[in-house]
């Protein structure tokens, strides 16, 4: 039996826009907060994994925190950067190669949609030049097809966004803290129909960090350690419907989210029904709806009813994105996946204040998805 790993420190620099701070400075603030939460110093950390998409090498954090000589691995895995850093940190503790490990991410993106370069993704120039290489288009195309196949209506797209901003309003660290009316969302500017302005998250800034150690010693450092029951990353298979695909194979294959989710549940020895609070990648309303089913939390098409009946609200059976998710927090790519883990830790510690799920949640779940077809899932236990 592999050694259990625990999260003993969490630290967040709130997401949003911070004109006077570099991305790295926000990462350093988050990392110092996580170390303080764990009650250890940077010099005790045996290995670190970190990433940033647009704000420089994560390893440069050592210039802020201290040049202790530790191995610091830069992680560059798109939206799954945080998930990959965490999976690597867990593996390092399990293997016994370090007593304390850190997973950290930060970012600072230019305003507006991301503008990827075709060659970085193994794609021809014409694909970008003729206006086909946009993540927002992909989300819209996947959502439209999904709605057609599974009877989802625009009502669900609005309800997901409405809940995200409602939860964001309860979260003092969220970027967007204003509730929005149904009509305000439903009538917002068409960006890529069926998706509209307030159904999309925005690129943002922020930092997030975790400190991990073997579970058996975790209580020495934090009274409420959170056990990482699974931390899994999977990439796409031939035939899955992924972002930046000039064509799709005749025969469709399951998304990497499906394979990552199954592997995580198997590793943790639990099922979707056991999860008390969850985070699903919500780059846009449509994606969250698709991810509900791809992660096994409902049947395809059942989302319409679950959303209408309030089952995904903080007080519901399946509380999703209790901190407002990407929609209310924005997406600093390097930090986003770790923000999800931090929110689940906060919920499992029962320290989430006005947005705390009722009862005594025991198991939480996080899921990220990003270009070019990579997904990361964690299952966390109090």
């Amino acid at each position: 039996m592999a050694q259990d790993v625990a999260i003993i420190g969490i630290g967040l620099h709130p997401f949003g826009r911070h004109d006077t701070l570099t991305g790295r400075a926000q990462g350093a603030i988050a990392l110092r907060a996580a170390l303080k939460d764990a009650g250890i110093g940077w010099e005790s950390v045996g290995i670190a994994y970190g990433g940033s998409h647009d704000a420089g090498n994560a390893d440069a954090l050592c210039n802020d925190l201290g040049l202790t000589g530790l191995p610091f691995i830069n992680v560059a895995n798109g939206c799954a950067t945080g998930g990959s850093a965490l999976a690597s940190a867990v593996a390092a503790i399990r293997s016994g190669s370090a007593e304390f490990a850190v997973a950290v991410g930060f970012d600072k993106h230019p305003r507006g949609a991301f503008n990827p370069h075709p060659r970085d993704w193994g794609l021809p120039d014409w694909y970008g030049e003729t206006g086909l290489m946009l993540t927002t288009q992909f989300f819209a195309l996947k959502t439209r097809r999904y709605m057609h196949e599974h009877g989802i209506t625009e009502d669900s797209l609005v309800r997901v966004a409405q809940r995200a901003f409602r939860n964001g309003a309860l979260n003092p660290q969220a970027w967007r803290r204003r509730e929005m009316s149904y009509a305000e969302i439903a009538e917002s500017m068409p960006v890529n129909l069926p998706l509209r302005q307030y159904m999309f998250c925005n690129p943002a800034e922020g930092g997030a960090a975790l400190v991990l150690c073997p579970a058996e010693v975790a209580k020495r450092y934090h009274p409420k350690p959170i056990i990482v029951k699974a931390a899994v990353v999977r990439t796409r298979h031939h035939g899955s419907f992924e972002v930046f695909s000039p064509a799709l194979a005749a025969q469709q294959a399951p998304a990497p989210t499906v394979t990552a989710s199954r592997a995580a549940f198997e590793q943790a020895g639990v099922g979707p029904r056991d999860i008390d609070v969850l985070q699903l990648q919500d780059t846009d309303s449509g994606s969250e709806i698709i991810h509900m089913a791809e992660n096994g939390f409902c049947e395809h098409g059942e989302q319409e009813r679950l959303l209408r009946d309030g089952e995904t609200e903080i007080g519901g059976r399946l509380p999703i994105n209790t901190d407002g998710g990407c929609l209310a927090n924005g997406e600093p790519i390097g930090a986003s996946g770790l923000r999800q883990v931090i929110e689940i830790c906060t919920q499992l510690r029962q320290e989430a204040g006005a947005r705390q799920v009722p009862g005594t949640p025991r198991l939480g779940y996080t899921h990220v998805y990003g270009a070019p077809g990579v997904s990361g899932v964690t299952i966390l236990q109090r």
């Binding site: 507006g112 949609a113 503008n115 370069h117 075709p118 021809p124 120039d125 014409w126 970008g128 030049e129 003729t130 206006g131 086909l132 290489m133 946009l134 288009q137 819209a140 195309l141 996947k142 439209r144 097809r145 057609h148 500017m189 068409p190 960006v191 890529n192 129909l193 069926p194 998706l195 031939h238 035939g239 695909s245 000039p246 064509a247 799709l248 194979a249 005749a250 025969q251």
Partner: protein
């Protein structure tokens, strides 16, 4: 009549004046690709042959690009002159779905399953004239 200047000449084969999409087919397992590739992500083979994907299909999914994309989009438009354009996946007779611009950008005239055919549209005008790319337009039959 000379063929139009294309952003991507390798993608198109002309039968007379009629454009067809060109991709590749895996010599081992028969899987189809667009654009042409030199390896098969299905079976990992590396022997591929050019393949005519035809010019007809049906609309499999669609959206309307509502804002001016950043670079590398190079239509030369400005936020003031930008006009939204349709984008879709078009299911070809083989079952392969090709992502393409659509000539229609009106949501009331787009429906999953509608028959489409290949055409070429100017997407950029430079001092040297118009540059064309492939697009699908509504057709009478699939």
């Amino acid at each position: 009549m000379p063929h139009p200047v294309l952003a991507s000449p390798d993608l198109i084969r002309f039968e007379g004046d009629t454009p067809h999409l060109v991709g590749s087919r895996c010599d081992e397992c028969g899987e189809l690709y667009f654009p042409a590739t030199d390896s098969c992500t299905r079976c990992t083979a590396t022997r591929m042959s050019p393949h005519d994907l035809g010019r007809r299909g049906t609309l499999w999914s669609w959206t309307i690009q509502g804002f001016l994309p950043k670079a590398p989009y190079d239509s030369g438009e400005t936020p003031e002159t930008f006009r939204p354009y349709g984008v879709g996946y078009v299911q070809m007779e083989s079952g392969l779905k090709v992502e393409s611009r659509l000539t229609v950008a009106d949501e009331t005239q787009l429906q999953i399953g509608m028959p489409l055919e290949l055409t070429l549209i100017p997407y950029r005008t430079t001092g040297d004239g118009e540059v064309f790319t492939f697009a699908f337009r509504p057709s009478a039959s699939a």
